[in-house]
């Protein structure tokens, strides 16, 4: 049994080994490949996004009414007790606030992270959620971000990239987040009537972030043309579901990257996305990013084999992952610095924590500034060490380790074999003045912080 390869399978290409997991693997490559035959976990007990959307619309409406009523009754005449009563009554009417629903959602998502057996699949979910990202920095999608991942990302990470891209494009959360809902063809019926125009936000991010990449060979004109092509793709606010409105669609053929695209309905959008999804620049952009997500310095050669497979299979993601996982380089020396999400979840797994600790785990993610779906820009969270390896964050990670170990009752000896430790680290752990401190030294160690 090659313990080191088993560790790599779980720590580098998973969410981190839990005590006892390493010894159970007989074939590390197979342990990863077999996950590709499965379906990624879906977070159950989360309402579909259309229900959530309608709930939020209702919440907004009621809040507006309550605020108007508040203006009428003078608040300053209320005693603290009356104010408390009023707040309680308000809460009765409004129900859960969006951020409360978000926390519930994130706790459920954290539970998966702590307990799943399919670490590689969940890492790919994280990767694609971060690449085709939506964020609560836009308040109105607060309740919609985790349903988005559930519906538009999770079921599609093993199939063709074109399908993944299309599913995100047609999801209410994405349509709201990147202002697609307010993009109207200037010469469409609605455009001419209300003198409204298109919005380039989504089109730009599709090209820059989701497909070709910033050096992918597109021009400003291409962005505009793409945004025209997308007009009409919007949200039915009565149903909370996507809709294509011909009356908002910019008429005419579209010229994108030297090709002409015809069609005046949703098939136009499908064709453009298909074109972008299998484009060699997209292959290069995404394959490099995927490789760099797991490895510190993937070679151009490795990336090229992934790109070739992407092009050959027209962007079949499962096949591309296979190329990465079966390369010798994937199992070689690499010391990629863990992003906070990976660090915190892998710490929880190493300590054998379960859903009882999800709240504390989420709290640590907040302190390390990587709560899922809270990225400041559509580019998502950076996956590079330069972003995360800072003096403040290193200190904070030691704090995190110190706080999390208090939740565990494991013996240091059951966790310290989860990672290959250098002698100096093993010695400090052995000499630690308490078991809790021994565990914390382990989590804070360079060996654990890199995978």
């Amino acid at each position: 049994m090659d313990l080191e390869k088993n560790r790599i399978a779980l720590n580098r290409f998973g969410l981190g080994a839990r005590p006892g997991e390493i010894e159970k693997i007989t074939d590390p490559l197979k342990a990863l490949m077999s996950q590709l035959e499965l379906k990624p976990d879906i977070i159950s007990e989360i309402e579909p996004s259309n229900i959530r959307f309608l709930r939020f619309e209702e919440f907004r409406k009621k809040k507006r009414e309550l605020d108007l009523a508040k203006v009428k009754t003078s608040e300053t005449t209320m005693s603290p007790q009356q104010k408390q009563e009023a707040t309680r009554a308000e809460k009765q009417i409004l129900g859960k606030a969006p951020y409360e629903i978000l926390i519930d959602d994130l706790l459920k998502r954290t539970n998966i992270g702590l307990t799943t057996d399919n670490g590689f699949l969940e890492r790919m979910v994280w990767y694609w959620s971060n690449t085709l990202t939506v964020s609560v920095s836009r308040g109105e999608v607060t309740e919609l971000v985790v349903p988005y991942e559930n519906e538009a990302i999770r079921p599609f990470i093993l199939g063709r990239f074109a399908n993944l891209l299309a599913s995100t494009a047609q999801h209410p959360t994405m349509l709201l987040y990147l202002d697609q809902v307010s993009s109207i063809g200037p010469h469409s019926q609605e455009g001419l009537r209300g003198r409204r125009s298109n919005n380039e936000n989504y089109a730009r991010e599709v090209m820059e972030l989701h497909t070709l990449g910033v050096n992918g060979g597109y021009s400003q004109k291409d962005v505009i043309e793409l945004s025209y092509a997308l007009t009409g793709l919007s949200l039915d606010r009565q149903k909370g579901s996507p809709v294509f409105r011909t009356t908002a669609h910019e008429p005419g053929d579209r010229a994108i990257m030297g090709r002409i695209f015809k069609g005046q309905d949703i098939t136009l959008i499908s064709e453009v996305f298909e074109y972008l999804a299998i484009h060699p620049q997209t292959a290069k952009h995404q394959c490099r990013r995927i490789a760099e997500y797991f490895l510190e310095k993937p070679s151009d050669g490795l990336i090229k084999t992934m790109v070739d497979k992407w092009i050959k299979t027209q962007g079949h993601l499962r096949e591309v992952y296979r190329v990465l996982l079966s390369s010798p380089e994937a199992w070689g020396p690499s010391r990629k610095f863990k992003m906070p999400e990976q660090y915190v979840i892998s710490s929880g797994r190493a300590l054998g924590l379960n859903e009882n600790s999800s709240g504390q785990i989420l709290q640590q993610l907040r302190l390390l500034a990587q709560v899922p779906f809270s990225a400041k820009s559509p580019a998502g969270f950076s996956t590079s060490a330069t972003e995360w390896l800072t003096p403040e964050s290193i200190v904070e990670r030691i704090n995190t380790a110190s706080r999390l170990v208090g939740l565990s009752t494991l013996e240091p000896s059951s966790v310290t074999s989860l990672v290959k430790l250098e002698d100096v680290t093993a010695l400090e752990i052995r000499r630690a003045p308490s078991k809790a401190e021994a565990l914390a030294i382990f989590l804070a160690s360079a060996e654990f912080q890199r995978s």
């Binding site: 003096p391 290193i394 110190s402 565990s408 240091p412 308490s434 021994a438 914390a440």
Partner: protein, 397 residues
């Protein structure tokens, strides 16, 4: 230690002393209002620095630059307990308690453990047996002996420590919010980075310059201001103060593993000692009326070497000091069958020799404060402890 020895008598103990003042009949004392708090000092507290035996002629030369200044000379002097022992100057609040006869100290004390592993020694301390492995702690067995249906235990912290694990159900209160990592942890991690990861070493070094972690808010006496432990102890006291509150609680305090830079009045021990001192005061304030019914003990897994090591600290030793405080305590004494500090008197030529078994202190509390019969104590709570006779006169009966 079965009776007050001649040496002990020389340190100011009155032979045959019973309790101060009130004669209380068992029937009029409400047992349920008794409180017992255990503070586990993890990391091996150096008894010779916490409670320096300045009256011992060998102390100053043995301890070299770790020797504290005898009482009454300057503001860095140790605080006087009696003509033989002093108290570390950072423990101002505890000193007041001692003078107020609310605190005593047991010195040259150790558990039966004679190796030098923190984990094993802490296990043995918490198990209350002569083994380093086991399933339940002596404090849980104490609850069982008292009647677990009516006597409640509380673990303060994120998990229930071994000392309180077992058959009797206990509750757990974890303080909210986000404490920063302690100095000991940071220093250990920094040490590993030096060898394993230059990039992390640089980042941590820089981060510590700017962050307020090491030596945060130290006042002129080297005491940490605004200790988290004092607040925690105070909050624990308040929980215990309720009539329906738990009777038994356990807290943890670390920072004692001073292999490097131990210091004298200032240095790595000053902060934790101040924490302990303020913690005791915090408990007292929190407990309010219940303080008169309370015994608090603070014990550590072993002591430290008598000679300083090469890095201005000490390594793992054997005997050390333990503290007992509370309104129910017969305070104002340093109980020690003092072995002396000459080279021949040291245990294995390196450590303060143990002359009192820690269980003698613990059994005294269980018998005199919690009114558990000695038979039950020796059958159920501390098996194989027959030789460790309960210290008489430690607690008001």
């Amino acid at each position: 230690m079965e009776h007050l020895s001649r040496r002990a008598a020389l340190t100011g103990l009155v032979v045959g002393m019973t309790f101060r003042g009130n004669v209380s009949f068992a029937t009029t004392v409400n047992q349920k209002s008794k409180r017992f708090v255990v503070i586990v000092l993890r990391g091996a507290l150096d008894g010779l620095t916490a409670v320096p035996p300045y009256g011992d002629g060998d102390y100053a030369s043995l301890r070299g630059n770790l020797a504290l200044q005898a009482p009454g000379i300057s503001e860095v002097s140790m605080l006087r307990l009696n003509e033989r022992f002093g108290l570390h100057p950072a423990m101002v609040e505890a000193h007041k308690m001692f003078l107020n006869r609310e605190m005593s100290i047991v010195h040259a004390m150790a558990s039966p453990y004679r190796e030098r592993s923190h984990f094993d020694a802490q296990n043995l301390l918490e198990l209350g047996t002569t083994h380093t492995t086991g399933a339940d702690g002596w404090l849980n067995r104490t609850l069982g002996a008292m009647g677990a249906e009516s006597w409640k235990g509380l673990a303060v912290g994120s998990t229930v420590p071994l000392i309180l694990q077992g058959q009797a159900p206990v509750s757990n209160w974890k303080p909210e919010q986000n404490q920063p990592a302690g100095n000991s942890l940071i220093l250990s991690v920094a040490k590993t980075y030096e060898t394993t990861d230059p990039a992390l070493a640089r980042a941590l070094n820089e981060g510590l310059q700017t962050s307020s972690m090491i030596d945060t808010a130290i006042d002129s006496k080297g005491r940490r201001i605004g200790s988290g432990f004092a607040t925690l102890a105070n909050a624990t006291g308040k929980i215990l103060a309720s009539d329906t509150g738990p009777n038994i609680a356990v807290l943890d305090l670390g920072g004692w593993d001073t292999h490097v830079g131990q210091g004298t009045d200032k240095g790595r021990m000053a902060g934790p000692l101040s924490d302990l001192s303020r913690g005791l005061e915090g408990l007292k304030i929190g407990l309010g009326d219940k303080w008169t019914q309370t015994v608090v003990i603070a014990v550590t897994e072993f002591g430290r070497t008598a000679h300083p090591n090469g890095t201005n600290g000490t390594d793992h030793g054997t005997a050390t000091a333990g503290f007992i405080a509370g309104g129910a305590v017969n305070g104002g004494y340093v109980l020690a069958d003092w072995p002396g500090l000459s080279q021949t008197a040291l245990f294995e030529g390196r450590d303060l020799a143990p002359t009192t078994d820690m269980r003698s202190m613990l059994k005294a509390v269980l018998s005199d404060h919690l009114k558990i019969t000695l038979k039950t104590i020796e059958d159920k709570v501390f098996p194989d402890s027959f030789k460790a006779k309960p210290i008489k006169g430690l607690v008001n009966v």
